[in-house]
Symmetry: D2
Subunit: 455 residues, 4 copies
């Protein structure tokens, strides 16, 4: 990577009106110079983003020099890329069956992207594409840094590494910001410091994406775990929300009751928001919709998602025509900062998902972990982060074993292997024959997306 | 151990009319010479067994020279023992609450001694005694071989080793005979050999007590796994019982459907009977009584147990008066054979529970495993047995972690620690607050047996 | 393996007048029925052994029913074998250069077959044949039990397993009998028991072939380590020999001074005789011929070996003509007993070399260990044996790493890789350039045997 | 650590005219505010340094605000310290016997502080003080950051952690700068960039102090390993020195021949200068003074050291009187930078010695490793660095085992334990009885410093 040259960034899933817009907004606020090649299965939204992205250059305050170009095909997008962003989402309708069929069997999920029956089905649909991505990257840009944003994060990365072991891939997730933001807020209140930013909170992070934990936290060198402990004890029963009952309207919000409960029992703070953490546990927090409500977090609201989708589509027209514009900046992800650090513009320490080479002491080598990592020019290295407590280890290892089974199933094109992950999922409270029926129904519902397995 | 001398065998729980009678019957058929000291919390049944045991000497066909003596206290029983048998059972009434309270929360168990809410409560009651046993053994007979027969096997042994690391203890379980007997029967049928005995079937056994597995089996040097595979496929749907529907009358019987199912999915044959195996899994086979019935195994029948208890009490009177006599021989356990081998009367290879020193490749060092072991004069050594398949490992490691938590709870006298095992049990499908309520109710129901924890 | 049928035993190296004769003598004393196919690079001695072996049938006291047949080629020898014995020796002349060239550089060896410069050169010559053996066995008798007797034991077995991972191979070494015999003698003297046999001494054995150790020993259930400790302390300075100064005449004899020294420092008794143990250490015992003499063990005497070779050749003629006969019985090896146990004629516990699957706790998985193993019908399983003491571990791990390098060198046909093992050998006290020269000279001396590497 | 407050730095060994002056010079160039408490066994040089250090404040260009104070005793020095610097050196005369006695036995060392007979004797003298340091730190400043500069680095740190496991200690060594400086120079030449600084070279460092290795190196994001490989091949035979034959005059210089040799054989570049690396190997490079000369590195020159010592003593008088002054700046160590980072003045990534928690994949947990680490406010975390190549692992593990033995010997006050490390040292080419004699002679020579062991 020559530091003077224009970067080529390949964006797979580049027709996104969600992360795509955030990405372009944040790009605009940085002194980066390069070309972003947008590829999407549907070319139309990629073309829309080409237009929207290129408008930034005219906007006041834009610091970057980026040309956006919709790619005709994936090869064109990837060829000679310095960075590859993988950020694909599924079809909303698949999501409906992923979540609603299990409910017929008493299995409720709050997020549905990472784990549980919904996460497994999602993985089965998405991972064949990841095998293909890895092959193309090996062929067209083997030295590129590959940043995965797609869920289920752990199996997506595991698939890339299995197909192309030399790949320089990591996962960038903003879920762990959740705990830093809460710690920042608590610390500010406790120390009467007006506005502590999440970046000022230094944590030790350990676990897997979706189920990672903080066991050390400091602000300005001061240990703030005692502050958090007191806070957790105080709010364990009623929960804590910045805006009371916000979780009912905004599913991304929560009252941190799951966080407090797990911390008080296990001594480590869940890094991600409650609806994510809850799905990785036995049905403690998700036995029924009522249970979730009593823990004050929301289940995913598909109607809301669909409404947002429609609104964004409408807005995209406006943006293209210049009737509206995206705000510059934002920083809800560290993706741009990671690109900058890798391109040689300063070191960065932030959370990243990487194959375990020792950073998590008691997880097996090779599983995808989420810990802090050090980003510097053309280099990412995980920071040693100690191990999970024994109880959290037992909860976690089920997932790492299941993840391996899911990836095995994909590489061997054998849906029976994935069934073993399905019935070993902690949320799977059905008896075995019901589980078998449910699995068949779920496969049938999305059968057109699973043709890969019958080939 | 001087081979000529009379052995002293301390029998803790020596008032038993179940294993106690079996023990005495089998003793009578061996050329062993010694004294068995019978200790029980209630002295009366121990005295009854003293009388019953000593009658064997007059019986025709008795080959042993054993004097039975009821001990006044545990110290008298243990002092200078060469062997210690630990075989205690709980109060039937505790068993009732162990099993029935969880049913109010939709949690069903089929055996209730090893794991699940019932197994945890049982452990909490029994293990404080085991700390005491270990202390007494360390003081009174530190070189004795200690044979545990009590359930929950794994945590009983773990407790002994934690309190007295140099203890020469192992667990003797007859549950793995179940798979050998089935293999013997199948092999006999398949090869048209009239009566194959379980001892003629050689297996490789790997796992933990209650959840151990066979992945190699041979008869007379011939690999019989292909025979079993064909058999399992043939009978997977309808199950196989020697006497059809026997499981409805005899809870120890089963149709092996769970065995076939797990074998066909995981490639390793559950060693124990279905009702034991099922309890170590998620609620696959125990979602409801109907589920269990569809898998053709019975749940424990407490009324039947109570009836048998009453009948045995009645018979004990007859036996003492000489109006009835126990049959010599039997061999439903390997306990006597193990004693003989350790006393120098020939080598023996059989299953045993021992701390892992490498015999199970992928379980942590120190957990109690169940594998084959080599018994010779004053020596027991586990045989290397390879590892569990990855899926079975994930199911097993939850139990080994839970077992550690239970033992921690006992040593730290902290019932909150045990609660973490309670809610991490695979059968625990309740939400967290319901689980909390259930735990409190179960503790309350047996509170007089848990005074240890409040001290 | 059908127990009634005639066994087919393939004997590679079947022209041996050393182990070959011992093998036939011992065979004759057992009720075994079968055919032994003798293959040797030179057919003449194999034919001689055919004649000599078949004469046993006429001899009084012969209990076996064995037909010996010299094979024309290796395929004929191996095809459908039930057992394969690998027992090849090198050319005496190669041995001369192996030993004498290093002496020019101040490096002295006492045995020269297992390790040190001589052992490495020997491995480089022999292992290419072992790759070939493994291929042939895979093709012609994949289910045969393969018994290796050739040195260097560890790398021979490692090569077989690398080429054919499913091979059923183990190593049979009589070196560990050395410690059992000494323990038997000491025990007999100490307890005034007239003749204790080595088989009556039960030991726990742990390590690698040529460098294995006993840390537990009992006789009739009695711990005899205290007896040995006292003995070692008493004789540490002067050594102990049954016949004083025997080591000067019989290189297989020794005064056990190395054994006592290592035991007193490390707490574990070297299992093999001193001249073998010494070679695995830094030049503690082999700095010069004088050093060896002060430790009262002999270096290998090639003139003596040559003389014995000539004598045996002469005797072979006599034996063929019937002018002399071999004695039936002997039991200086457990090879026949192992065959019997594997063929289903009773269980056997004895030392064996096997890939580590956990039997030695602190050696890496897959290295070839020497521990006790359980032989039963068609089954060998190592017995868990604990670990090496830390100091012995550090001495041992150098050898296991070197062994891997040697095997790598052979599979990659790259003599530079083996050079790293050469200079990392504990006996290598030369500086690096001298070591390089020596290596070249040694390779040159046997260059006709190393053509494999230039192909 | 409150960031506004004056730092208290305790300097044990504060009478040093070597590192002490460098420390003060570098301190003067940084904006640090605090008190440095100088403690030394001899108070006089500490008082001299108090005077010399306090003169900096008057010097032009001094940016720090530091008060130097000689402490009357160690308690006064350590009490409430924020940082503790441990930097003690031995008596020059001890060094003489450490090095010269082994030469009588043909054992030559080039540095004598880290390993080999000299390093072991040094450790035996120094480590009892380290037990005492750890105890005092635990009592007087348990939250201080403890920076060790004393050799033998690995056992000093191991001792601190053994005595006080919660200690916040790490080792700061400038030896790895050696490889960075060479890489910087080569890179500058190769790319025609005028002056590349060692800090601009980014490496992955893995190993133990004195024997650590670089397997990745980049300059400005560009992989420079190919440049180094070409260079190493070119200069392997003749070596490379900036100033030819400099090594003859300056023992710290070398021709990198050892570095090139090991890299070409093992694929990892020794991080430290040749005379350090050579001592950790078998006598490859140190068989005799001639061998060392042929590899173009110098052995330690005690006369030169003594001369420098005398010169510094003379200069100290001048400095106190103001007739001379120390230069501000220098940066031959990262110690000051590490203090700054820990005090919250910016993050730092540099090499550090820390107990292994996973940063070196194939070294045991708990041994002291040398890798890169991330320094931030009140936090040091090692960066995951992969593992050593198998050959280097085998060379290294001997040292880690020996180090443990040495520390065991110190804690158990048992010089026999240390003898096992002595004879297992790779440089120990003597036979066992000579080694025993040498050990006794070396102990006797410094017996007044070893009274601890007889208490």
């Amino acid at each position: 990577m020559d530091s003077g040259k224009r970067l080529k960034i390949a964006y797979i899933g580049g027709g996104s009106f969600r992360f795509g817009w955030r990405f372009m907004s944040e790009m605009a606020s940085e002194e980066i110079c390069g070309t972003v090649s947008l590829y999407d299965i549907e070319k139309k939204p990629a073309l829309a983003n080409e237009v929207i992205g290129n408008k930034f250059r005219e906007q006041k305050g834009c610091r970057s020099d980026i040309i956006y170009l919709a790619a005709d095909n994936i090869n064109e997008c990837l060829r000679d890329a310095d960075f590859v962003i993988l950020s694909i989402s599924g079809d909303m309708e698949d999501y409906v069956s992923d979540l609603h069929l299990p409910e017929m069997y008493g299995i409720y999920q709050s997020y549905g992207e990472n784990t549980g029956p919904a996460g497994i089905l999602r993985a089965l649909r998405i991972l064949p594409h990841y095998i293909e991505f890895a092959r193309k990257i090996k062929e067209l840009c083997p030295n590129a840094w590959v940043i995965n944003l797609t869920n289920p994060m752990n199996v997506c990365l595991m698939t890339l590494y299995r197909e192309f072991p030399q790949i320089k891939a990591f996962g960038s997730s903003s879920e762990p910001f959740s705990v830093s933001e809460l710690l920042a807020e608590i610390t500010g209140r406790s120390l009467s410091v007006p506005s502590v930013h999440r970046r000022e909170i230094k944590t030790n992070l350990v676990g897997i994406n979706g189920f990672s934990f903080v066991n050390e936290a400091s602000y300005n060198g001061m240990d703030i775990m005692p502050i958090f402990t007191e806070f957790a004890q105080k709010y364990a029963d009623d929960g804590y929300e910045r805006r009371p009952e916000e979780f009912r309207l905004n599913p991304a919000a929560c009252a941190n009751k799951v966080r407090f409960d797990m911390f008080l029992r296990y001594g480590m703070i869940p890094a991600q928001s409650d609806r994510i953490t809850a799905e990785f546990c036995p049905p403690w927090y998700l036995r029924s919709p009522k249970t979730a409500a009593s823990w004050k977090f929301a289940q995913v609201n598909i109607n809301l998602l669909k409404k947002q989708q429609t609104e964004r589509a409408a807005r995209s027209k406006l943006l293209m025509e210049g009737g509206d514009s995206l705000r510059i900046g934002g920083y809800t992800s560290d993706c741009i900062s990671q690109i900058k650090a890798l391109a040689g513009m300063g070191n960065l320490i932030t959370n990243a998902c990487l194959p375990n080479s020792g950073q998590v002491e008691n997880l097996p080598k090779g599983v995808i972990t989420e810990t802090n990592a050090l980003f510097s020019k053309n280099c990412v290295r995980a920071v040693t982060s100690g191990g999970l407590s024994e109880e959290l280890y037992a909860l976690t290892v089920r997932h790492t074993v299941n993840q391996k089974l899911i990836v095995d199933a994909v590489f061997e094109k054998d849906l029976d292997i994935a069934f073993n992950a399905f019935i070993n999922d902690p949320l799977m409270s059905a008896d075995l024959s019901s589980a078998g029926e449910l699995y068949k129904e779920m496969l049938t519902a999305v059968s057109t997306k699973l043709l890969y397995y019958t080939s």
